[in-house]
Symmetry: none
Subunit: 231 residues, 2 copies
């Protein structure tokens, strides 16, 4: 399964670290935020698959934050697990009514946390959005993992597919090799940066018969960009 991205929203640094450690160990990619404001920034930067949201935050409470996200088109499908110190049944019910998918009460073991994270992600998967990307004749359907150039199908390896998928969801923007490794390969794998070049080449070669290799543009000294405009 593809690596999942989790955002931790928690004001106490030690707990944050513990959670991050457990998640990374279980091969999730992790982002952190310590309050509502930084959480918004983190979400804007990279939409997570799941948010671990502390109930009590300085300033705006986690509950309000959750309600805010549930109202927003962009974030309403992101899974939310509430993290709370309270044992009150009231809070649990309130949390679930707000739209949290699950809750964990402190103190919790890291294995319990991971189990719940996995369960929630698995549950939200099958109904996942039927993402269908299209750009100027080149189209990619996430549900069937099919890529077609005009009428013809394009045959891609797993990494090439993920790379193209990343490009097509983020066109018209330059990414460094490091950024691409983080987001296509996963953030705690170490591979040479030049490996990106090789996969770019393979992807270009696969798209070439239909002329779509022009969409992948080299920006010397910076990285690559995906665009239908030739420039």
């Amino acid at each position: 399964m593809q690596q999942k991205h989790v955002l931790i929203v928690e004001d106490e640094a030690p707990i944050r670290d513990m959670i991050r450690f457990a998640l990374e160990r279980a091969d999730f990619s992790v982002a952190e935020a310590e309050d509502a404001q930084s959480a918004r920034l983190a979400i804007a930067d990279h939409l997570p698959d799941l948010v671990l949201l502390d109930w009590m935050l300085p300033g705006m409470s986690g509950a309000e934050l959750a309600r805010e996200w549930r109202r927003d088109e962009l974030t309403q499908n992101v899974a939310i697990i509430m993290v709370t110190a309270r044992v009150d049944e009231d809070d649990r019910v309130r949390g679930l009514n707000i739209g949290a998918d699950d809750y964990v009460t402190k103190p919790f073991s890291s294995s319990e946390l991971i189990a719940r994270v996995r369960a929630v992600l698995r549950r939200s998967l099958p109904g996942g959005e039927d993402e269908c990307l299209e750009l100027d004749g080149l189209s990619l359907d996430a549900a069937s993992q099919r890529v077609s150039a005009g009428a013809d199908a394009v045959r891609l390896g797993p990494t090439e597919y993920r790379l193209l998928r990343f490009f097509m969801s983020n066109p018209e923007r330059v990414y460094s090799r490091e950024q691409m490794l983080d987001r296509v390969w996963g953030q705690n794998v170490y591979v040479e940066e030049r490996t990106v070049d090789v996969h770019i080449r393979r992807l270009r070669k696969a798209l070439a018969p239909h002329g779509f290799d022009k969409f992948i543009q080299t920006v010397r000294g910076s990285g690559y960009r995906f665009s239908s405009k030739s420039l």
Copy 2:
């Protein structure tokens, strides 16, 4: 979605009440029974879409009851979720061999229960009775549990049948082995992921004489896809 009818078979009244409350809150219609005898009456009165069946019952055990229903033409398509206090791996395996669709172990949260009920119903949703799937010459009739390729009948084992049924209900979409285990085998069953491959093979072999094995496509690194389109 139409309102679904659930029968609770459970001898302890408090647990029955808890389950009834959770189910009605989630907008299911509910019937209750406290032993095998009253369960038979309840079923005769109104055929449920799903039965929550306690493992231990006074007199006849839930397991025997399940076996009885699975043999009967009328009841064999009714989904069954076993409810058990035991954590024994043995019982889980035995229960699933009997034909239960899923398992819940006490104690369980009401949200977990609802989630599982929904999952099982979703799995067997499209039709329940008169479901008849057809794709490009390959057809599956849920009522008679018969599969035919063109004019010829195809002989399938139970798991192969459920697998094909799952595929035909969800074509043109890639599923991971984990997702397939969840939806074809049941949610908390632990079997090796490679087991999926073996059943894929058996299903392919059964479909091969008519050329329909091409419909099951391997998506390397991700899982499988069912589609009449070649690639």
